[in-house]
Amino acid sequence: MRKHVLLLVHGMGPYVTANGKPDESWFNDSVAALKEQYGKYPLVNLKSFEETFEIVHINYDIEIFKLVSRWQTESQAVLAAGIPAAAPAQKLVGWLKDSAKLDNNFAWSHAACVILYYFFPLMRQRIKISVAAQIQQALATNHDGAVSVWSVVAHSLGTIVTHDVLQALDSTTPNQAGISILDAMAPSANLVAMVANVSKILETDSKVYGSLVVPQSMVQNQSACYSYLSCRNEFDPFVRIDPFVPGDLPAWKLAQSNGSFIDVPSHNINELNTHSFRNYIVNPDVHIPLLEKLVGPGSITAQQAADARGQFQNVPDAARQQALQAVMARVDAQLAGKPDLHAWFDLAGLFNAQLAQAAGAAHE
């Protein structure tokens, strides 16, 4: 019998190696972050993580990398031709010459992913069908049998990619029976977990509040999932622009009332990168409902949940220390030859106070 198939979908950033092969480091880190929490709860850990889940890495950055690599190659070739009269053409494509560079290239490796998905509909379609093909392969019946339980955990840009693909899979009916691809392929997803949910900000062809990616209920019979977890950290700048808050829409309201839609507004800073997958997962407000939806309600007792929440520090001392060190490192560099130390220490103090304020908010 198949295990619970768990699809992991990455966010923005480079997830390929220099030769265009999938880079597994984010997936491995994310699985490690999940396993860390999984091991804390005895009833969850009754069966090991490996015994419970079949992990599948969904990588769409390969497609983005292929495109920017071709831009880079073409641009470099035009520049390498070395024809003085072609200067206007070289200016036109010169800015693309490092587009596939992976190191220290935030604009191309992170921002370009989001821009290409949101503003370039043809790239969006390419990514959608590529991800759909990967999901189809993951959920296909194999020698261990048919998939009966599967879930998706998506992060950042991956949340809108996951939404768009599930919407397409559950609304496309290429067969004569008129059954959607998803309905014919496997049961609806046990859980769609959107970590650092930016799907509302980046919605395009289908609107996230009115789509089929909503928990099944009496008012929503056709749907891609049974439960939906949306995580948004108030210190994560990416999710603050237009947070995923469906409000009083009937399908979402009913799902929220029966516990199949869980909205988790968190406010912890356990890593300086508040957008990171780990910064979300360490928070019991995030990982408790996530694990309960993945392995079943009751797998974390009320007492265990209360203990975990009680022990959790929204801003642990180690993170504050790390933050201050980072600030001081910059201050040191900036201070070369400048005697006005007080202004910088004031700045560091303010930053520390802000972190302390966030820590205080956890206990309110």
């Binding site: 019998m1 690599s69 070739a77 590529s130 046990n190």
Partner: protein, 390 residues
């Protein structure tokens, strides 16, 4: 109380309740459950989480499942002919239904074991009859993917409307080791196992539809892969322009699904390396490196049944830049796209020391070509390709 004693208790309770003629088969999950909760204080509403963890790797169709159902499922999966499939299906139904021998079973509303078992068995028999009677409507809930398996998040088997969380929480109110709770665990294991078995069976029955869908997805995937990676590269402004036109031409409902990849594209301000046959100051001809900038152009093609580009044709107005003695650096012309490996041939009009030239230009998809030789230094590659003229 040891597990043997509990099993006997369950069997006796069943017989006492309903006077069944056949005893319930020994449930392997009782001993697994006992082991799982040993030394732990398990609240009633956590019993569901304990027993469902046995699914797959434990006593429910896992290595510790001694019911033989998993083996019958393998036989069904391996069956080749219709006769073999029908025979293995029949054996599976018999073994699955035997799971409920000796258990109270009356189809009725409510979340008691007897009512739930009654509904579940009735649905299994209904499926058996439907499959024996001939083709089942693909839209029938009896063979729907969502009907039979237990989904952890909603704790319900939909076809028989059994909420196992509610049932176990209710039956285990007196404690996770109480006889009533053990009986409920016994029943739950059987319901999950048989529900999962029916899911495996109906999935096999639905394979023709699944395969048709897979063909559709594979073809679309190949088309879009060809569009982005095989057809010559589009620079960002071209990709944006063609995307804008695609959005305009494709209804929103189609765009939110998996639309057909485009069968045409505009080319706009597109520089690329090329070769041009240029006339020298003494009248001889040589092949020179050039940069050809397509000012504006248009290409069309078709998709074959394998998702490949076929019949690709197109044309562009071009400006060609060269650095050759005896020739003006800038020429103008027309480039025709050919279906052969993204290559294009063109004619370039250029002024030279010996008057007006009409030259042949060739443009290959260098980016695509270089993709095959990723580790090659671009300058050396281009220099080598152009006969030592970097």
């Amino acid at each position: 109380m040891n597990s043997m004693g509990l099993r006997a208790l369950v069997a006796l309770a069943s017989l006492a309740c309903c006077g069944a003629l056949r005893a319930a088969p020994v449930e392997p999950c009782i001993s697994a459950y006992q082991k799982d909760i040993a030394g732990q204080s398990v609240p009633a509403d956590s019993v569901y989480a304990v027993i469902t963890r046995e699914q797959g790797s434990g006593c429910i169709l896992g290595q510790a499942d001694g019911t033989g159902i998993e083996q019958l499922l393998e036989t069904l999966r391996d069956a080749k002919t219709d006769a073999e499939k029908a025979a293995s299906r029949q054996m599976l139904f018999e073994r699955v239904l035997a799971q409920f021998d000796g258990l109270p079973s009356t189809p009725c509303d409510g979340n008691t074991i007897a009512c739930s078992a009654g509904r579940h068995v009735a649905k299994i028999r209904e499926l058996q009859q439907a499959l024996n009677a001939g083709p089942v409507d693909p839209r029938s809930p009896l063979i729907a993917q969502n009907s039979w398996p237990l989904v952890p998040a909603i704790h319900t088997i939909r076809i028989s409307n059994i909420d196992l969380l509610a049932l176990l929480t209710n039956e285990c109110a007196a404690g996770a080791q109480s006889p009533q709770c053990i009986a409920a665990v016994d029943f739950s294991a059987k319901v999950i196992r048989t529900g999962e078995s029916m899911h495996q069976l109906t999935d096999a029955y639905s394979q023709p539809i699944i395969e048709a869908d897979n063909r559709f997805l594979t073809e679309r995937d190949k088309q879009w892969n060809s569009y982005m990676n095989d057809v010559s590269v589009q620079y960002p402004w071209e990709l944006w322009l063609n995307g804008y036109l695609f959005q305009k031409a494709t209804p929103a409902a189609q765009r939110s699904q998996f639309p057909l990849a485009p069968t045409s594209k505009w080319v706009f301000l597109h520089p690329s390396p090329a070769f041009e046959r240029v006339e020298g100051p003494t009248g001889g001809h040589s092949t020179q490196a050039a940069v050809v900038a397509e000012i504006a152009g248009y290409e069309i093609w078709r998709w074959d049944s394998g998702g490949r580009v076929t019949g690709r044709l197109g044309a562009s107005l071009i400006v060609s830049f060269v650095d050759a003695r005896g020739s003006s650096a800038v020429g103008y012309g027309l480039l025709l796209k050919t279906p052969f490996k993204n290559a294009s041939v063109g004619v370039v009009f250029r002024n030279g020391d010996r008057g007006r030239q009409v030259n042949l230009a060739i443009n290959v998809d260098l980016a695509k070509l270089i993709q095959k030789y990723k580790d090659v230094d671009i300058k050396k590659f281009v220099g080598g390709s152009l006969g030592g003229q970097p």
